[in-house]
Symmetry: C2
Subunit: 408 residues, 2 copies
């Protein structure tokens, strides 16, 4: 029997190469393969195997028996299974907007998948002020298909309940509950506040009882509303992109939650790129050009989402009561309202909370960074407080521009 | 080894007696026991074992390998486990307001529990126009403790998610989704409509687009809002009562859903008793007296629930954001709004849907029955449509009395 079929062991490059040659049907029998370990994460070993003749390649991602940075941290192998299950579901629903999984191996606790080495991380590319004219088209396909098609509008309710059960995700949801919905809204020890921003945060957010009440309502929505199978961490660092293709990665936060959570994360992270451009592009025309591109992208994300959602709803609705007059509009309205709220939460938590974004932290000029941080906080507050009346792409852009127009 | 420990077999009376004598520590060793099978359900065998000397007794409830009325229907033994798990949770939370479970036996697939033979079913007693002055006190204890203490207000969020997972209940939720939220609101073949009521239902409900839209919103709330561990079927037929004690039974519909669902079911079924009194008590003083008792009970259910909820909230709240100013009031408000909606749904579905209530079907006079059916439908419609402004006990009573005052 193959040595890969009996018992788990942590692979080295030569093992991964042999695995690719003997356990998979991916490469021709007599070709010459090379293999290198390219992982830089904390948990997994990532092997890239290339056919030197054709250039065809794949990735083998193996979970270690413990975290590779600290042998004392035991890692649940279940995490790999969940990621594999989610990727297959999202791949099918979104018709290819996540990496394809070729094989999942329970013994070796590894996953063989599409190689995305020719893609770049969207956040990094946006900080370098690159443009991707097809991104809004792709990401709205992903959002509409993964969210609407896993909701009770479309899916059989019993089938959905078994999916809900499979993807109950207590540990990773707790991270979001704490880091997004709770800690950024008070002077929590785990927060990481840029000193020039602190006084503004205290005055405008931490002492604002009206705002705090709204965050509590939103946290309970997040805790209880099993609306759709979310990606759960859909920021621009979870998106691989090249000119003609977009791939959403790292779905380990996936669970059934409010659909607006994913959409709001996408938009908020585009706002961070927009404020990065505001603070870092010196040339006035270049700045205007790049900010226009991002504004256009945000507008398209909202407009295309709305258009495709309406179309997909009409084509796929299975639930009788969801065809009642007025329900589609009510349902979409509630998703857009949740989206606005999550844009606000993400804008605030990435400025005040524990986990920051490079778009902002890479701004070297202290005053400029402080200014755009305050813009994000003010816009964030308004996205939360005024979510009931923020409905169109124009409304979303208006919130950001109004915050920018204040002379901080 | 005991013959009860090796393999499942369906018990007869003599087996259950031996089981009680040898497998349990409940009775003294040398006493004289008697046993009779008292089940009249479709699924389970129910043995009552009595100590002739002391009168002490218990119940052994065994699931058959298939439904006892039809050998072809295979019954999942898991159902017994779930009922057992839920009863133990509810017993602990409510401090004894459900039957005590002494033992659950996985091999024999049976459950040994408190004997409630000296209790009566509340619905039957209300139809006989009996009074239970402590009922509102007991049932509001049950509601506040089982609902609030299983919500994210109090319970650790990770622990709650594992409970949600344990009690995902697709088959029985589907029954509610269909029979409560969908079928009663159109001319569905499975409905069972009393002919003199049909024209009213068509005009006031089935052709009312505004109402239909609200039922769709409510159905999606029921499908997605995992707020608290519900009983899920808390009508007056699921309540055993005697003068000084109340026991809630049959929790097989339990799952995490909107808290108002249980409260609304209790109130709607008190309204059915109220309309039964309206239609069947001839003597004017007796009728007024009994209706006053029921009105008083409904008022107490709402007022005591509100009072105890506020108290238990302050004493038990663990979630930081749930202590923000205004959140408790917002949260209770949303529960009362959901309660009003469910009162309405239950009033409608028991008149038009597949499963009726004896309070109404036992009214022999056709005209009187038709009149109170229309009262229930009209009140039901208003409980749904006006749920945002139905807040106090007085508001709830007002809806019923207004419907009664219309000269049908």
């Amino acid at each position: 029997m193959s040595r890969f079929k009996s018992e788990y062991f942590t692979m080295k490059e030569k093992d991964a190469l042999e695995y690719a040659a003997t356990e998979l049907d991916f490469f021709p029998k007599d070709t010459k393969l090379s293999c290198s370990e390219i992982g830089d994460g904390n948990l997994n070993y990532v092997f890239k195997v290339v056919d030197s003749k054709t250039g065809k390649s794949l990735i083998i991602k193996q979970a270690g028996p413990c975290a590779r940075i600290d042998e004392n941290i035991k890692v649940s192998p279940d995490r790999n299974r969940i990621e594999n299950d989610i990727l297959r579901i999202q791949y099918k629903l979104s018709e290819g907007l996540v990496p394809e999984v070729y094989k999942y191996d329970e013994v070796m606790n590894c996953c063989v998948m599409e190689d995305l080495s020719d893609y770049v991380i969207l956040r990094k590319a946006l900080i370098e002020h690159k443009k991707f004219p097809n991104f809004a088209e792709h990401i709205t396909d992903f959002l509409v298909k993964t969210l609407l098609l896993t909701s009770d509008i479309v899916i059989n309710h019993k089938e959905k309940k078994s999916l809900v059960k499979n993807f109950i995700n207590p540990e990773l949801c707790e991270i979001t509950e704490d880091l997004v919905y709770t800690e950024p809204f008070y002077n929590c020890a785990r927060n990481d506040v840029f000193e020039p921003t602190r006084a503004f945060a205290e005055k405008e957010l931490w002492n604002n009882e009206e705002l705090l009440l709204e965050t509590a309502k939103l946290k309970f929505e997040f805790l209880t509303n099993a609306q759709a199978l979310l990606h759960g961490d859909l920021h621009t660092g979870s998106i691989f992109i090249k000119e003609d293709s977009t791939k959403v990665i790292d779905p380990e936060f996936a669970f059934f939650g409010p659909a607006g959570y994913d959409i709001g994360n996408v938009i908020a992270n585009l706002v961070f790129a927009y404020e990065n451009a505001e603070a870092t592009i010196e040339n006035r025309d270049s700045k205007e050009d790049y900010k226009n591109y991002l504004e256009d992208t945000i507008v398209k994300v909202i407009d295309l989402f709305t258009y495709k959602f309406n179309k997909a709803y009409d084509e796929n609705v299975k639930e009788r009561v969801a065809t009642y007059k007025g329900f589609k509009e009510y349902y979409l309205d509630s998703i857009i309202r949740d989206t606005s709220a999550v844009v606000g939460l993400e804008l605030v938590r990435r400025i005040l909370g524990m986990a920051h974004v490079k778009d902002i932290t890479s701004i070297e000029d202290v005053d400029k960074r402080a200014r755009v941080e305050k813009i994000c906080l003010l816009a964030g507050k308004n996205f939360i407080l005024n979510r009931a009346v923020i409905k169109t792409a124009k409304d979303f852009i208006e919130v950001v521009k109004t915050a920018e127009s204040i002379g901080f």
